[in-house]
Symmetry: C2
Subunit: 166 residues, 2 copies
Amino acid sequence: MSISTELPSTHNHSNCINAALTMATQLCVERGVQLTSIRQQVLELIWTNHHAVKAYDLLERIKPLQSAAKPATIYRALDFLMAQGFIHRVESLNAFIGCCDLKTAHEQLLLICKQCKNVEERHADVVMQALVQELQNANFIAHSKAIEIQGICENCSQTLNTEIPA
Amino acid sequence: MSISTELPSTHNHSNCINAALTMATQLCVERGVQLTSIRQQVLELIWTNHHAVKAYDLLERIKPLQSAAKPATIYRALDFLMAQGFIHRVESLNAFIGCCDLKTAHEQLLLICKQCKNVEERHADVVMQALVQELQNANFIAHSKAIEIQGICENCSQTLNTEIPA
DNA sequence: AATTGATATGTTATATTGTAACAAATTAAC
DNA sequence: GTTAATTTGTTACAATATAACATATCAATT
Ligand SMILES: [Zn+2]
Ligand SMILES: [Zn+2]
Ligand SMILES: [Zn+2]
Ligand SMILES: [Zn+2]
């Protein structure tokens, strides 16, 4: 049985990368903060694909570019990128993904595929509305929300379903 | 300014402890699994209060009872208790809490108070319904769901609000 | 009661993830 | 250019988690 580990062929990932880097560059100018080369390299490495990336994997990957890189190098860059909203932390994986929507502040619903490892970020406005109501009912003042679903994505389940037993 | 770190006085926590241990004992018998003394001790330690507990804190706390305890001792007990649904892992804290409803399988919405550290588990049926619909829209097959909200709980915000500036 | 298989625990070592603290370098503002 | 703020380098370590294998306990079967 073959296993899909890719996004649909309709997906042009260079668009994702370009959009993320362009927006990040622009937002940093607007905000008067510095997208230094280390920070940009980490952001690019995170955008290699739609997988969540671990900090120490980033460290290995950035070493050819930044031979002096240490854990703090990566964690500082990640802190910056999170503070700017360019990436999200995936709590249930201790890993990080690029944010797909830099234009609007938003809460994230993350769909984490156990098979292909892709993480999809969805707005899920209806869910968020219900959640806001529930938090009001509980008189709970939310500072941050993490909604993470693990399972099998559409692409992977289709690939499995169309698989013909030999 | 005083800071509340307690639950409302209406809360009788010994009820929580008794219910959790009684149900766990009963369910282990029904399921033919063993609630060994280590596992029961870990469960009791988790139920000390409604805070999320870290694995290495549990390790320190169990050592007077189990002098040979090592990390594996704790993590094995935690694995068992999670598999039985007696506790939940709080992904955003790398910590663990006792489950408040052992009778029915359920997804958890966790409200994590940054101030008093209490974690409240709510069923939030409306949110879960909306989430199920969203997952259907996405054709995503969910295996597990983690919804974790960090902020300030009702009790803490009331305590702050009623505080009179000197 | 001894044998056996399954489950649970003991033990050592190590892997993984994340921070603290301070020095040096770079950048921005004046 | 000098100063102040920010960023990076560097060392050391803290915190979280698992692998691997030995030993012990338990439960059922001879
Ligand atoms: Zn893409
Ligand atoms: Zn997938
Ligand atoms: Zn209680
Ligand atoms: Zn609170």
